[in-house]
């Protein structure tokens, strides 16, 4: 019954999965661009974002169409509401990957990351990419255990972000003003994109259970 409608709903879910795949790979590639001063990788992230934005727009239009025409209720309604939120979050994750890639491009052929901070940055980049990919898996599987893990993963990023800032403020390190600003920004981008991935975890929890996650946990982020 209502085959076309269910196909259209599935299309929204498929769009989100595709989007998460794209932004997951963009985050990894942006980290490569950053650490290896890889201009090709940076350019790929920047131009690749167009596909993410196109999917975002498509999901938006599909959602408006479904809401206007199909009167979705119950889990169908939550699929669309959370679909809108999640596509918004994924689009932002993609934008942060672009920001990171642009920093790498601006400093090319020099590297943004001084040797002393390489391992922190690498760890941050890897954790961020892992979170982005996991967010995609959570969307695809609606696995609440995995969704809960995402919140813990975000704590790792927050810790790394804090230690990065500490290193930047340490007077014995002199990275130069420009590099310090870039590093502070890049650290912030990773931290923010991980937050967007966490909010996907909340959205999936709401999608599955119909219960809003405790607002305390939002505030704690």
């Amino acid at each position: 019954m209502r085959d076309t409608y269910h196909e259209q709903l599935a299309e929204v879910a498929d769009g989100l999965i595709e989007m998460s795949r794209l932004v997951g790979s963009a985050v990894s590639k942006a980290t490569t661009a950053l650490l290896d001063a890889d201009l090709g990788a940076a350019e790929a992230v920047i131009t690749g974002d167009e596909a993410v934005n196109a999917l975002y727009k498509h999901i938006d239009q599909s959602a408006v169409m479904l809401l206007a025409r199909q009167q979705p209720v119950a889990s169908d309604l939550r699929t669309i509401l959370t679909g809108l939120r999640m596509s918004n979050d994924l689009e932002r994750v993609g934008d942060y990957a672009v920001h990171i890639a642009k920093v790498a491009r601006r400093r090319h052929p020099a590297s943004v990351v001084p040797v002393a901070l390489r391992s922190t940055m690498l760890e941050m980049g890897q954790a961020a990419a892992r979170i982005a990919v996991k967010a995609g898996t959570v969307i695809a599987t609606r696995d609440l255990t995995l969704a809960a893990q995402l919140l813990a993963d975000d704590d790792t990023i927050d810790d790394l972000h804090a230690s990065l800032l500490q290193a930047l403020l340490d007077r014995s390190n002199d990275f130069g003003v420009e590099a310090t600003i870039d590093l502070a920004l890049v650290g912030r981008y990773y931290e923010r994109l991980a937050d967007h991935a966490t909010s996907i975890s909340h959205a999936v929890t709401y999608l599955v259970t119909g219960e809003h996650t405790d607002p305390e946990s939002y505030a704690a982020e």
Partner: protein, 258 residues
């Protein structure tokens, strides 16, 4: 095959009363067009001008023209009965012929058109019942009275009867208003299937139904009691239900008037 309908400046009267005025629109083949609007806005009257059913009422007449592809249904010398064979109709309440079996209900129109021979009729009855998504439910009781079916099944029987004579256009006047929600969805699914072969025009009070099933939606309204109904806006259903051009359409579909 499915035909394009072009209405040009159609007025319809009941005696001296002008029920609709100046309706012009184009309905593309193999699409579902929904006509919505408040009670008395003339949407059913307009629908009935599309197969010359309006003039069946004493004193009723139509001005303007309705073209089916290139042919004007109201040109002199056109046979109204032939028009109704080409442009089939399904009504609000399921109205199977009460004394006839399921089989005979579907075969009635074919026999009337001179189709004979058990095998030909059997084939056409099965094809029509399959087309109306009713075959599996009734194939073992084709000899039983059509009136013994559930409301939703009766309505699908009426659709089978309508498509048995292979019309090019199917008009539906509130085909689901007497049905429960599940039967309603079954009929709506059926419309989506039927539009591969027919041009479908449906009048419905149920805006959500119009939103769900149609490709194009037309909104009719009246300015006040005694005024003729007019077509306010017709556009893609997507546009009408997400961003209509006319404020009156917006007010109606959002429940602010009507």
């Amino acid at each position: 095959m499915a035909k394009r309908i072009v209405a040009k400046d159609v007025d319809a009267y009941y005696g001296a009363f002008k029920a609709i005025e100046g309706v012009s629109l184009t309905i593309e083949p193999k699409t579902v067009t929904a006509l919505i609007g408040p009670s008395g806005c003339g949407k059913s009257t307009f629908l009935r001008t599309l197969n010359r059913m309006h003039e069946v009422i004493p004193g009723a007449r139509v001005e303007g023209s309705v073209l089916l592809d290139e042919e004007d249904l109201y040109a002199p010398g056109i046979d109204a009965v032939a028009v109704r064979r080409t442009v089939g109709m399904v009504f609000q309440r399921p109205n199977p012929f009460p004394t006839m079996s399921i089989y005979d209900n579907v075969a009635a129109g074919l026999r009337l058109n001179g189709i004979k021979g058990r095998q030909r009729l059997d084939e056409a009855v099965e094809r029509s019942l399959r087309g109306a998504n009713l075959w599996t439910e009734v194939k073992d009781r084709l000899g039983k009275p059509g009136a013994g079916l559930s409301g939703g099944q009766q309505q699908r029987l009426c659709i089978a009867r309508a498509i048995a004579v292979e019309p090019q256009v199917l008009l539906m006047d509130e085909p689901c208003s007497a049905l429960d929600p599940i039967s309603t969805l079954a009929i709506e699914d059926l419309m989506t299937e039927l539009k591969d072969r027919y041009t479908i025009v449906i009048v419905t009070h149920n805006m959500q139904q119009a939103a769900r099933v149609s490709d194009t939606t037309g909104f009719f309204t009246i300015d006040g009691p005694g005024d003729p109904g007019r077509l306010v806006e017709i556009d893609t259903t997507q546009k009408i239900f997400s961003n209509p051009s006319e404020k009156r359409t917006e007010d109606y579909i959002t429940g602010r008037f009507g």
